[in-house]
Amino acid sequence: MITSHYKISLLLAGLLSLALTLLPSAEAQEKDYAFYKGKVIEFVVPYAVGGGFDAYARGLKPHLENYIPGTTVVIRNMTGGGGLTGTNQLYRSKGDGLTVGIINGAGMVLNQILGAKEALYDLNKMGWVGRVYADTHVLAVPSKSPFRTAQDLKNAKRTIVMAQTGKGSDDFFLTYLAFKALGIPHRNIIGFQGAPEAIMAVLRGEEDGFMDSYSTLEKVIKEGEMRVIFQVSLARDDPRIKDSPTLLELVGEDAGEMITGISSVFAFERPIAAPPGVSPARLNVLREALWASLQDPGMIEWSKKVRPILPLRGEETEKLLRQALAAGNKLKPLLEDSLK
């Protein structure tokens, strides 16, 4: 009797603990698909029609509609303020799970850290649906440039001149931090309307180089017009640029923390966010749908032709945000310095 009693209580305890361990995750996994039937999801793009952010939104639209049955995804381009208008708008939208948006993660992290008064959002409070893509950033110089390595840049008899789109833009901070880490003095030519104009100026020989994401530069690099000097990363993870040294290799472990910081901030790229207050049951639907969309053969086919993808789940994206904010806060004095 005792033994069987014991067995039963053991069984009960086991079941209970099993239930207890399962319960929270079961709750977290709860998905309110029913809510989405016949609803319209607004997909906010803080940049103009035809740009990179817009391309992802339009590429994802049919798949999201497919994986959240009964919904229609409407893309809303809310341009302005270098992406601030759309991000603010997204933040202030109702947290009912019917609004999502693709944002310039690194740029918005930098704005928040520097306390830009126009940044009316708090990334910590937003819901993170996932990440579409994160790129490796590189320094590219014209193929005809006498500079072949970072050492050449260091040994240069004159100041290195770099093209930039605007003070406070992503490429501006990136250039400042990378050159600071390398200890190479440089001069900026600022004011190009966009990356294409900056690239053309470098090709005309007006500047020595330009720093941006590899995808932005990939075309001219593949055309043989430019080459990569180094990549801003901790390891040579990106299969497209295996031959280019990383900033960490060049600078050494001393500046490791700084480079980790830079790469953490810039790894938080192109995330998809929801406004604060979306219930877990709905956020889970969005997360599942985005993840499934990004694995869909159709989307993978699209990504091979139009824009690369590097998917990350919502939970991971949230972790990445914490890392980026922490790393960014450490870099704050440097970033503030660069704006002086």
Partner: protein
């Protein structure tokens, strides 16, 4: 090369491809007519339609749409004084006045012919320059952009009744252009504490206000119809076609201006037609601003030749020459084409395909325009009490619809009031627009030139040539008394 040309021609002549060209043309015209919708938006929205098409059809469809949008834009510029796209800003300066005078048909025909032939010039020059494309693209830097924009700016002095009024109006435009982030330091100017103004005044919203709103309100105030009631004619369509040939030299010059502006980096679509208009104004004697057909021919000949120019950096370096080009590039990748040097080598036939479709598309849209000119121009005879509210509704819808920002609606409204005020006191709205469009590009390219070269940028050969043009343009009326134009 001939081989590739023939191959390209064969691809373009495929019935399926031709059908897509026609389809694209019609869609492009519709996008163009509606104020606020423009080429980049048309391309972005239509790209998904090409998913199932083969590469040649997709390319032809999108390029034809792209080419037709600007012609569609000139239709609304001429008939109701509302530039449908930024590329037709200057067309409404004289085109709308022609409509008022009862010459809508003639204006529409002139615009169709000039833009159709302009496309031919653009394409022919593009093909002729294929071997030397790279050198040409690399010779235009910020100093050249600065000089050509300054050249365009000189027009503000010549517009309108008096030099003073022209200069004041142009100055208002230049001042308005300074709103928002300063391009180099990122300092905010006159943003009035609202994020909306960070990117400056939205050109489309401002244009809709300055022209559509102002004109509909004055139309209601005046009553009657757009066209003067004593005139029932719409002008001869044939006359409009002939006009272009009558002013063939002006047409060629303006086509070349369009082409050069297209090649230049970072110069938006609104700039080319304004510089062409300004060039016409400065070098020929006429009654510009009061319905001179040359005021339609000049900007329209530049609009489509510019597209040939836009293709050049894309083909030579794989770097998009304009916003629309960036979207086109995306669509091309989607169809396995990799625009860039291979368009000069292994895929040369596709370059010809692109050239031929632009050509066919533009000729088609011109033919559409010509055949409907008579019908379309009847709009000018609709009573103000019916037409004006319709125009107003579409204006505000267009202004709001593009970006979905209420700020754009406010800009449209305020610029409508500004337009009324300017009109009442005989200031020149055209000059305001010229200042507004060129202000940003002048400031940006000036700073880039100084940062890159210091003042020695003035000694660059091409810069010197353009500077000489500007000075000559300014002195021309003084020295030659504007009589030796030989074109009127």
């Amino acid at each position: 090369m001939l081989d590739a040309a023939l191959q390209g021609l064969l691809m373009a002549a495929e019935p399926g491809v031709l059908l897509y060209v026609a389809f694209g043309t019609v869609l492009g015209l519709i996008f163009g007519v509606i104020p606020g919708l423009n080429g980049p938006i048309a391309l972005a929205l239509l790209t998904p339609l090409t998913y199932k098409m083969d590469a040649a059809s997709a390319m032809a469809f999108l390029l034809a749409t792209y080419g037709a949008v600007s012609y569609g834009g000139s239709v609304s510029a001429i008939l109701i004084g509302v530039p449908g796209t930024g590329e037709n800003v200057a067309t409404c300066f004289d085109g709308y006045e022609m409509t008022k005078k009862g010459e809508a048909g003639r204006a529409l025909a002139a615009s169709a012919t000039a833009s159709g032939l302009g496309a031919i010039v653009g394409v022919v020059v593009l093909i002729a320059l294929l071997p030397v494309l790279r050198g040409i693209v690399l010779s235009f830097g910020p100093p050249e952009v600065l000089m050509i924009s300054l050249w365009g700016l000189t027009a503000i002095a010549a517009l309108g009744g008096s030099i003073q009024r022209g200069l004041i109006s142009g100055g208002i435009g230049l001042l308005l252009a300074t709103v928002g982030f300063e391009p180099v330091s990122g300092t905010l100017r006159y943003a009035l504490g609202t994020i909306y103004l960070y990117d400056g005044i939205n050109l489309t919203a401002a244009l809709i206000g300055l022209f559509a709103v102002t004109e509909s309100i004055s139309l209601v105030a005046k009553g009657g119809t757009i066209q003067r009631p004593d005139i029932r004619a719409i002008g001869s369509v044939l006359e409009g076609v002939k006009d272009v040939f009558r002013h063939w030299f002006l047409f060629v010059r303006c086509s070349i201006i369009g082409l050069i502006v297209g090649i230049m980096p970072g110069v938006g679509g609104a700039v080319g037609n304004i510089i062409a208009y300004s060039h016409a104004l400065q070098t020929t004697k006429g009654n510009y601003g009061t319905g001179d057909v040359r005021g339609v021919i000049a900007p329209e000949s530049s609009v489509n030749s510019k597209e040939g120019g836009d293709l050049i950096p894309t083909i030579a370096f794989g770097v998009p020459g304009a916003a629309s080009m960036a979207i086109l590039l995306n669509a091309f990748y989607l169809h396995g084409l990799n625009p860039g040097k291979e368009l000069l080598t292994t895929k040369l036939s596709y370059t010809f395909l692109m050239a031929f479709t632009l050509l066919v598309g533009n000729i088609l849209s011109s033919l559409f325009g010509l055949s409907f000119a008579r019908l379309l121009s009847k709009i000018a005879l609709v009573r103000a009490s019916v037409l004006a509210p319709l125009i107003l509704v579409f204006s505000f819808l267009g202004s709001y619809g593009v970006n979905g920002r209420i700020g754009d609606v406010a800009v449209t409204f305020l610029f409508g009031l500004l337009g009324l005020w300017l009109k009442k006191y005989d200031y020149v709205r055209a000059a305001v627009v010229i200042g507004l469009v060129l202000g940003e590009i002048i400031e940006r390219s000036y700073h880039l030139s100084i940062q890159t070269f210091g003042w020695s940028f003035l000694l660059r050969p091409l810069t010197l040539i353009l500077l000489a043009f500007t000075i000559l343009t300014l002195l021309y009326p003084v020295i030659w008394g504007k009589e030796k134009e030989g074109e009127a």
